[in-house]
């Protein structure tokens, strides 16, 4: 563990490699962070609220804003009509006729898709008016899972494409066919990687303004990059990039890739500001964020290996499907291609076959989430490594050692083109085992198993790419398409270092940090070069596209800070120092190469006693430019642009060096499973990283801990859940479970440092490794724990207690007596469809009950809270119903239908309705049978609830819906018997529940 140290005095030891206190923290801890929502705004700034689709897939028939416009405080409503006038669809990464607008135009494709924006004097009034926008949707069949979307006859999200598979690329490297044909063994896994996310404390935020005079937009947002997307935004707004000024505030409350997804909202708020004629501010709330911001890309993959009997892998074959959601939003399909060059992981595997299919589904568009692409690849690859060991009866550690890229082979060109820069994978493994106490874990496993407890050990080895090649995404195109479009490659970083007239040093970077400590590290870098203290260096990270040095690769992603940005700061500082050395050499009467910068002073190497203060030397050119030696230049400001030379565009055979640097992590862990609850307890977690040279060990450990915490969530808890109808079920942090301090053990962190030859400081990224290694390491440990009991199992993340118990098998003996409550009916599909059945006996003849059902007036009396019911066609009604429970109220517009009418034996009674709380629909059969005391009414129903209620209330819906149906049929019975009570008193709990979901409507 690397504890921060207090920076004291001026030493000659380098600051890099040490852990001074973060310069960011005092401000943050004192509550003085400069987050967007804290920034002052211009007088007259308005606030936006976004109306979002409750449907996963529907035709957008009509959006009427008249009522909303007359709400108090409302200044404008932005609709698709405005958007088509002022904007154009976002560019798409594949050549397909797909349109993605910042606002739905004629169709919605996921729950939460923006449909309209209300701009009002404050956010509360804007939200008030959302309910007053009248939207007609015509629901369409949905494709929620990858399997649904690729099935023959699947509903098409983008009919012009003709398929939900919007990209299908195959690749081969080496000779995989021969390797598989001649393989001693073939071992395969089929796995799924779930949709999940990392959850920043601060959600998205945008402050936008339009200047009609300039025809320009000026935006501040917590968008984090990549700034290649700045061009996507400018193109969508139909302005030159210079007329979209974008600024990032100093502080961002967490990003983890997720803040990439702010960019469509930047465009939307620009348009909202244009519509309102005033600055507009939008701050995303948690429900919006979880529902509709972004998600890690879901993946379904089959991975097969051709293996020698000793576990040596000759070839790999990937067949992968990515679920990118309703639109292919930039930079997707980058989840596939970020990892493409290093699909062979840490292993020397010469032959590789890959097929990548990009699938659109009725879910939130996917994008960057910490690890981006890595968790998906390594979940398959490292599960396969364990499977190979199990099937071949080998020690998994031997399988690792036999396949690792040997330490003398670096830089190593992997099959698909990654140039693995440096490393010693076997040494890292040995270090992890030794310092992590592998022997002790083996003893614990033996002891636990001897007592019949479930204890397992898992491993994972991953190569962690950093500093993405901006050309990797073009691997999705064919070589011919690439040739037409022109080459793309590189990863330009920029940094500026300057000296002010008092000799103060300032660094300006466009890295859009979100808490990682970029300012601290830059100050360390520059302090070493200029011989000053870190606190003498001011670092400005407020990125402004109009005033900063930047290029398309800028931003806070692909773990590019340590390798690229800090390295570029070093180059800029060095260039400035070399010029200062020339200036100082005159005064010191020595050669410029003899000038030493140390201890805040400047001296000649040979005369350390005769030194000048750094500030004096550094500020001199401001005051006496005429004294600056010829050829040195007077401006004390150096801007350096740097790109890794190793990053070329994909070649004609699709080889691509996807990243400039490749770190390594080897993890091991011991877990124990509780047989009663299915809970997985992490007994010990060990993670060994080689991220090249560590610039600040405490910050590196912070990245490891943070990544590990989020990865524990991915392994055990986190998943965005959807109903079979595409409704979103994880709208609060009580539904989308993020691990807390109680659930996260402190990992044992081990480091190895093999510097990268390709980055200026030898550093590589470290922040994403655990997102890639930890989920699969825990999965392997759980598989190992279960193996003695149930053999080989397929592990699906997250490993919730329910899933673990399912794998383990639950002994569920029947009751000794018939249960008094009706047996539970299993849920249909995977989501929020509820099935329920019951029966009531009513004191009326079947004919009377039937007559009640067919009589609109009687039906109106049966449905609680019914304001009116109008017959629109035979057996078709439109109803207006206010429903609520426990004070929850919403007015539903409902349609009711009677079908399969078989008087007086039965019929089908269906209804569906929409309100500000979302959608509700129910359909089921009603059977009538004459019994002694009247009629037995049997009902069997399927109920679907979507929109906000499903997103936030899913835990309580089932019980509520059950009560509602029971009550509905009791009322039916009473009406039929001629004994129906007047509408129940408003206080009646059951009436309130009844009205909540609009069942029967």
């Amino acid at each position: 563990m690397n504890a921060p140290e207090r920076a004291t005095g001026v030493g000659t030891d380098p600051w890099l490699g040490r852990s001074p206190e973060r310069v960011e923290d005092l401000t943050l801890l004192a509550g003085h962070g400069a987050f967007l929502d804290y920034l002052p705004v211009r007088p007259g700034t308005l606030h936006a609220a976004v109306l979002r689709s409750p449907h996963a897939h529907a035709v957008l028939v009509r959006v009427a804003t008249d009522r909303a416009m007359s709400c108090p405080g409302v200044r404008a409503v932005l609709t698709g009509e405005d958007v088509t006038r002022w904007a154009q669809p976002f560019v798409v990464g594949v050549k397909q006729p797909m349109q993605h607008w910042p606002l739905a135009i004629d169709r919605v494709r996921y729950v939460g898709e923006p449909v309209a924006v209300v701009i009002a004097e404050d956010r509360a009034r804007a939200e008030d008016a959302l309910d007053a926008i009248d939207v007609d949707y015509d629901p369409l069949p949905v494709a929620v899972e990858i399997a649904d979307a690729i099935a023959p006859g699947a509903p098409l999200l983008h009919p012009e494409v003709g398929s939900n598979i919007v990209s299908d690329r195959s690749f081969r490297y080496g000779d995989p066919e021969t390797a598989f044909a001649t393989a001693a063994r073939r071992v395969a896994v089929t796995v799924q990687y779930p949709r999940n996310s990392c959850t920043p404390i601060e959600c998205g935020a945008v402050l936008a303004e339009y200047s009609p005079g300039e025809g320009a937009y000026d935006v501040t947002s917590n968008f984090m990059g990549p700034f290649s997307l700045h061009t996507v935004m400018a193109l969508a707004l139909k302005v030159p990039a210079t007329r979209l000024r974008h600024r990032c505030p100093r502080d961002s409350g967490g990003s983890f890739g997720v803040k990439q997804s702010v960019f469509p909202m930047v465009v939307l708020m620009c348009l909202a500001a244009r519509k309102a004629g005033a600055p507009v501010k939008w701050v995303e709330d948690r429900l919006e964020h979880l529902t509709a911001a972004t998600s890690a890309t879901g993946r379904s993959s089959t991975l097969e290996a051709a293996v020698d009997p000793d576990g040596r892998i000759r070839a790999l074959a990937y067949d992968q499907f990515d679920d990118v959601g309703g639109y292919l939003r930039a930079p997707e399909p980058a989840t596939f291609y970020r990892m493409h060059g290093c699909l062979t992981g840490a292993y020397d595997i010469p032959h590789l076959a890959v097929r990548n299919r990009v699938v659109v589904t009725n879910r939130t568009p996917a994008g960057l989430v910490r690890g981006f692409g890595g968790p998906q690849v390594y979940f398959a690859l490292e599960r396969l490594m364990q499977r190979i060991a199990v099937e071949l009866g080998l020690d998994p550690l031997d399988v690792y050692r036999r396949n690792f890229v040997p330490c003398d082979a670096f830089p190593f060109r992997a099959a698909a083109g990654a140039l693995l820069d440096s490393g010693d994978y076997a040494a890292a493994l040995d270090k992890a085992l030794a310092e992590g106490g592998h022997d002790e874990l083996l003893r614990r496993r033996d002891a636990a198993r001897a007592e019949g407890r479930l204890y397992g050990i898992g491993f994972a080895a991953i190569v962690e790419p950093s500093i993405s090649n901006m050309g990797y995404i073009t691997t999705v195109l064919t070589a011919e398409q690439r040739a037409r479009a022109g080459p793309k490659n590189g990863a330009i970083a920029a940094a500026t270092v300057n000296v002010d007239p008092l000799g103060g040093v300032c660094v300006t970077i466009a890295s859009a940090p979100a808490g990682q400590g970029h300012r601290t590290v830059c100050a360390q870098v520059v302090a070493d070069v200029l011989g000053v203290r870190p606190e003498d260096v001011t670092v400005n990270t407020e990125f402004d596209t109009h005033k900063d040095a930047w290029s398309v690769a800028e931003g806070n992603y692909s773990s590019r800070f340590a390798g690229a940005v800090a390295g570029t700061v070093h180059l800029a500082a060095t260039r400035l120092r070399d010029r200062l050395a020339h200036i100082a050499a005159t005064s010191l009467d020595c050669e410029s190469r003899e000038v030493v910068f140390a201890g805040g002073r400047v001296h000649a190497r040979t005369a350390p006693d005769r030194s000048l203060p750094f500030a004096r030397v550094a500020s001199a050119p401001h005051w006496a430019p005429a004294l600056v030696p010829e050829g040195v230049g007077i401006g004390m400001r150096e801007t350096v642009f740097w790109t890794p030379e190793s990053l070329a565009a994909p070649d004609a055979e699709d080889h691509i060096n996807t990243s400039a640097a490749y770190g390594f992590a080897f993890d091991l862990c011991g877990v124990e499973i509780d047989r009663t609850t299915g809970r997985v307890r992490i007994d010990r977690y060990v993670t060994c990283h080689d991220a090249g040279r560590l610039l600040n060990p405490a910050l590196a450990d912070g990245q490891v801990r943070g990544g590990f915490a989020q990865a524990v969530g991915a392994a055990l808890m986190e998943e965005f859940r959807y109903g079979a109808d595409g409704s979103f079920l994880s709208g609060t942090l009580a539904d989308y479970l993020v691990p807390t301090a109680c659930e996260i053990p402190d990992p044992v962190i081990v480091h190895l440092e093999t510097p990268s030859p390709f980055t200026p400081l030898g550093a590589k990224g470290i922040g994403e490794g655990n997102s890639m290694s930890t989920p699969v390491c825990i999965a392997n440990a759980v598989a190992d724990a279960l193996h003695p009991v149930v053999g080989t199992v397929d592990i699906r993340l997250p490993l919730t207690p329910g899933r673990v118990l399912d794998l383990l098998g639950i002994d569920d003996p029947p009751p000794s007596v018939a249960p008094t409550a009706p047996p539970a009916t299993p849920a249909r599909g995977t989501g929020r469809t509820m099935r329920m059945s019951g029966s009531v006996v009513v004191a009326a003849r079947p004919e009377d009950v039937f007559r009640t059902l067919l009589d609109p007036d009687a039906l109106a009396r049966v449905i609680p809270g019914c304001h009116g019911l109008v017959e629109t066609a035979p057996h078709r009604y439109a109803a207006d119903v206010t429903i609520g429970v426990s004070g929850v109220k919403a007015r539903y517009r409902a349609e009711i239908a009677l079908d399969d009418v078989d008087a007086p034996r039965g019929l089908r009674l269906s209804g569906r309705g929409t309100s500000s709380l979302g959608t509700a629909s129910g359909s089921g059969t009603v059977r009538l049978e004459a019994v002694d005391r009247g009629t037995r009414v049997d009902y069997d129903y399927a109920v679907d609830v979507g929109g906000k209620v499903a997103a936030v209330g899913s835990r309580l819906l089932d019980g509520a819906a059950r009560a509602i149906l029971a009550q509905l049929f009791e009322r039916l019975g009473r009406e039929a018997a001629g004994a129906v009570a007047p509408s129940p008193a408003p206080s009646s709990w059951i009436a309130r529940i009844l009205r909540w979901l609009g069942i029967g409507s």
Partner: protein, 278 residues
Amino acid sequence: MKPAPFDHVRIDSPEEACDLLAEHGDDARVLAGGQSLMPMLNMRLAKPAVLLDISRCAALDYVRVEDGTLAIGAATTQAAIEWRPALATEVPLLAAALPAVAHFPIRNRGTVCGSLAHADPSAELPLCLAALDGEVVLRSRAGTRRLKAAQFQAGVLATACRADELLVEARFPLRSPDEACAFEEFSLRHGDYAIVAVAAVASPRGIRIAVGGVADRPVVADWPDLDDAALDTALNDLAWSLGARDEGEVSAKMRRHLVRGLGRRVVRRARPTAGGLS
């Protein structure tokens, strides 16, 4: 995520609250700690016209030992009960269950009576009230009613409290000297809603077991002291009687499994021979 407009009325006495409830009925909601209501307001699931804020009503902020019960006023926070030094001897089941009620910051504001009135089927405090056969005091302009837990608890977020009534007090019976109890809960994370929560109270008169999180309200069963085999049968029958349902990753089968597993643990711990909580 801003609430719809409402009038906020701070109540200084229960009488004032009852007057306003009589006037506004269903359009009013009572705000005590706000730990369930505020999210419902902010998500606009609830849009009451009037919010009756009893949180600073001194007359409702009390804990008294009275008539063999611990009587808790409607404005009394869960933390105030949790940190009561004598709680472990007065009502040990509450002492055992309160740490499982969400987290410290929530218990610092959340009230005991608010949780009972909210009637979440997974909440711990309604389960304790049912297990101990406690009661609530409901007050309106028309008068005062006392209801046993079984009469009061009516389903998912549903109670027998009328729209003109204020839940003014909860009464938890004090532990009798020959009684022992135990509490177990399984939730996905510490502080989450219970997937299954089980409480047991054992005395020479038998075992009372209460299960939360499965049915639409806490369910109570009374058994004589059973041997292990009979206990397993009784727990299994109880588990099946609750109408467990599949919900996301938590299957009906898993809930039955937890009722059996946690049920065995609490009964073993509560049996007089095992000591139990005292």
